[in-house]
Amino acid sequence: MIRVVDLHKRFGPTLAVRGVSFEIQPGEVVGFLGPNGAGKTTTIRVLTGYHPATSGLAEVAGCDVRRQSLEVRRHIGYLPQEVPIYPDLRVVEFLRYRAALKGVPRRDRKAAVERAMAKAGIADVARKLVGHVSHGYRQRVGLADALVANPPILILDEPTSGLDPNQRRRVKQVVRELSAEHTILFSSHILGEVQDVCSRVIVIHRGTVRADGRPDELVAGGTRARLSVRARCPAELLREIVTVLAGVVADTIDVAEDDAAAGHGVATLRCELEPSSDPSEELGTRLQQAAVPVYGLEVERPTLEEYFYAITDGADQREELALAAAATEGGPR
């Protein structure tokens, strides 16, 4: 439904998008994640025909966004980041105008506007001036605008930004309902809501795609879980038991013993685990066999937030440290 191949977008000296490629199949709900300034909105604007690409290919519903811009725009319902409105029109007038502009036939217009208002949950403010409704409602007016021509593809650029938790919940609910009928590209930097709503995420950072896949698979496959165990035994014994377990990253083991002088110390061990591994059951058995009383055993799974940090700012920091180290090594002798 959407195909982007080696997309570049330059604004003067700044390369905002550097070789972004991805595909979205019909019916998918894809989260487009990235920190502020990552290139999400620029990529979206290229897809909607608002900005031209500097190079690369972008296709929507099989149409090239540059050469068949009008056709592409017929297939898209777009909610921009900042919902622009005409404050002097009533909500229903604004939606009728947008429906007409998008080519909804006159005989179907009233029904289309009512359907869009019902889906976005704004029927109660239909007669209000757009300039007089709250920010949350305005966001939903923008969503109704994206829906009014019933396009097969919805591109929602940070649809929950600036909303309170209840409003965010409502928008997420609407997006979930829409996923049955539309292909959705949902841009956000709020990870929780992407995890709630999307079946797949594309993470973009500094204009490049850093990850693309199912949220749980990305997190499980890309970040280490953490094992934490507290038991009444000498620290070295605990270390010996844990070191031999499958999936434990040996050089991350950190163990400390409290109150050892009294002869009944409690050792606390923390370590990282290889992605997708879970040695907790085996560890429990081994501790039982060694007759070690266990006070706590926990495998802490990484969150999407940690994964996101690891491949964006975390990756930047590692890169900077590596560069600094290289500079130190290659410095004046």
Binding site: R45, P52, R73, P80, E82, P84, Y86, D88, A100, L101
Partner: protein, 255 residues
Amino acid sequence: MNGALVTLKKELLSYAVSPVSWIIAVLFYFVRGFELSDLALVFAVYRADPDMFPAATYGNFSTNVMVMLVPGILTMRCFAEERRTGSIETLMTAPVTDFAVVFGKWLAAALFYAILWLPSVLVLHVLEYPAYFDVDIAFGPVFSAYLGMFLLAGFLLAFGCFASSLTDNTMLAAILTILFDGVLMKAPSWLATRIGDWGDGWYARELLAKIDVMGNFSTWFARGLIDTSQVAFFLGGIAFFLFLTWISLTSRRLA
């Protein structure tokens, strides 16, 4: 054309609900009412030719304001406001051609301008009553004068749309248009009197005469004469500035 028609309707609605439009209309008819009653009095007392009455209204303050200031005020929001509020993004990503948007906005401004002007014809009709002149005013020259005025307004409104497409500052767009109006009204005749011998070569004097809008008004349209070269000048100017506006908008997709 559907896009242009939809844009036209929406823009007309916006003009209708804008307080600025109503302030212009009220002030125009308020000032014009005083001016016309004074003119009618002068014409009645001195028994001047009432058929010259419409032409005499050209020098009025209200006419000058309508020609010099109103096109800039009406068009200043066309694109500058859309840029300022960000609604240009949803407009340009809707399945409608850029030219349809440009044409729809210009046509709405031109129609609204015409709606502001047209009731002034009724005022002339009122002056035919016995209480005033008690004669039939020749409506042929009135028609040509109004045609000329609308062509000029269309030209200035097209420039106003272009100026508005260049900036997100509505005041700047209005000032640009008003400056352009001023230059177009005053510069040709002013330059013609100052170019001296240089004007004899390169058809400079002829060129200035062609673009002397106010001079041509009194020579042609005010006398009930429709000069096709003047009509072509205004229509060409409208097409030229609408084209520039379209280029200004569409360059976003090409850059």
